[in-house]
Symmetry: C2
Subunit: 230 residues, 2 copies
DNA sequence: ACTGTTGCGATACACCGTATCGGCAAAATA
DNA sequence: TATTTTGCCGATACGGTGTATCGCAACAGT
């Protein structure tokens, strides 16, 4: 018996670990959305039986938590700009960019407290940038207000993007985008203010809309940081 | 043969319609959360085969849309206070109250464009209150910024509430609430700013936190409505 | 070499959303 | 009125899901 007829040992798949599981799940979600992530498919992508995953995660929700935290590694900026305002804006922008790369993040954003190490690091960086600018309560309110804003704004942006995509790529025009339904409703005359907006409103791209709202909120925060009592 | 031995006609269940379906689904969701809503259970609650529902809705997502719109009927205030600021604040508050009554709404808020009749009525009322205070673009930005804020804030509030509930009703204390994990992480010293907040931060109840942030955002909006260019 | 232990994969269960189809009752026609 | 047509509604079925359970096989220890 020579080497040639001795069968090769089966090439072991790379050893399994949380990181590989999360990476596979994220790949799946990037391709087909959150609903395309099933434990069976994740396992299949790793050439492994589904039950194997339960040694590393105890529930599907936990996997989602890990995915969210993994993306927070992309959100944490490599080097912090100095100004508190720049820090908050950057946090918002990077979260938005990450969500545009991983649209499924919009479905998870704000859905659970984020306590993973990467998310904590992001929070830490933000808090550090605001440290000492006002009393703790004011600082907390500032951080939470800004993050409530961008969480909501990002979710809406993705929601609209999906709707446009679903109704067939029509972008500018509500009436054509959402089909005859909206036109019919507006034609009833029961929604004059809405009709005016749809008719006369100029189209603003999502990015500047996001940035403008963010600037407003940051202005508000600036005022409160200056005079915490107000 | 008398009346007495003639069998009664089988008591027809009330005729099915969208409204009854949505009501059943909402009841289910109120009791057990969104995940407790399945077409089979909704149908069972109406004494009907599951397939029957497909005459009124074409997909489960559509049912969710209907549920959201139904709740918007609770959100629309019966009579509008006059001031634009009061209108926006009321919209935010009523949305929050509705979400506290129907926690599952937090999972859906901002997830899809809301185009149902009740949601449109709410938007109409809001836009009407701001009509003429500034150019259309500024007004839109105002409405969207405020609603991005309260959407995000409500979602976070419910997320925290659920986490507290899940970790066993401990409220004030992160360390005990989220278990030894957070304490351990904070003990590493890698998150000094966070540790300071956890250690020194005073507990603020969710409602005032929500209201404070909302006031900040409204202040910002007021400034922009006054000087639209700024 | 034999035995004990432990981790892993196959199997199983209950449930899900929804496509399909067959029969029955009511409505329309002759 | 008798007959045909139509349209609705329920049963059945399919392919999927998350996860509990359990038996076996490979390894470790004596």
């Amino acid at each position: 018996m020579t080497v040639w007829d001795r069968p090769e040992p089966p090439t072991r798949p790379a050893p399994l670990d949380r990181e590989r599981i999360v990476a596979a799940a994220i790949a799946l979600a990037d391709e087909g959305g959150l609903e395309a992530v099933s434990l069976r498919k994740v396992a299949a992508r790793l050439d492994v039986g589904p039950m194997r995953l339960y040694q590393y995660i105890s529930t599907k929700e936990e996997l989602f938590d890990l995915m969210v935290d993994e993306v927070h590694a992309e959100i944490l900026p490599e080097e912090q700009p100095g100004d508190w305002r720049e820090v908050l804006r950057t946090h918002a922008d990077r979260t938005r960019q990450a969500t545009l790369r991983h649209e499924w993040l919009a479905d998870l954003l704000g859905g659970r407290p984020t306590l993973g190490p990467n998310a904590l690091a992001v929070t830490e960086a933000t808090l550090a940038a605001l440290d000492g600018l006002a009393d703790l309560d004011t600082v907390m309110r500032a951080v939470e207000t800004v993050s409530a804003y961008f969480t909501g704004a990002i979710r809406r942006e993705i929601a609209n993007l999906r709707a446009e995509r679903a109704t067939g790529l029509s972008k500018r025009d509500w009436q054509r985008a959402y089909g005859p339904y909206v036109s019919r409703v507006l034609a009833t005359g029961r929604f004059p203010a809405l009709a005016k907006v749809v008719h006369d409103g100029t189209e603003v791209d999502a990015e500047t809309s996001f940035a403008t709202g963010l600037d407003w909120v940051l202005d508000a925060v600036a005022a409160k940081l200056a005079r915490p009592s107000a």
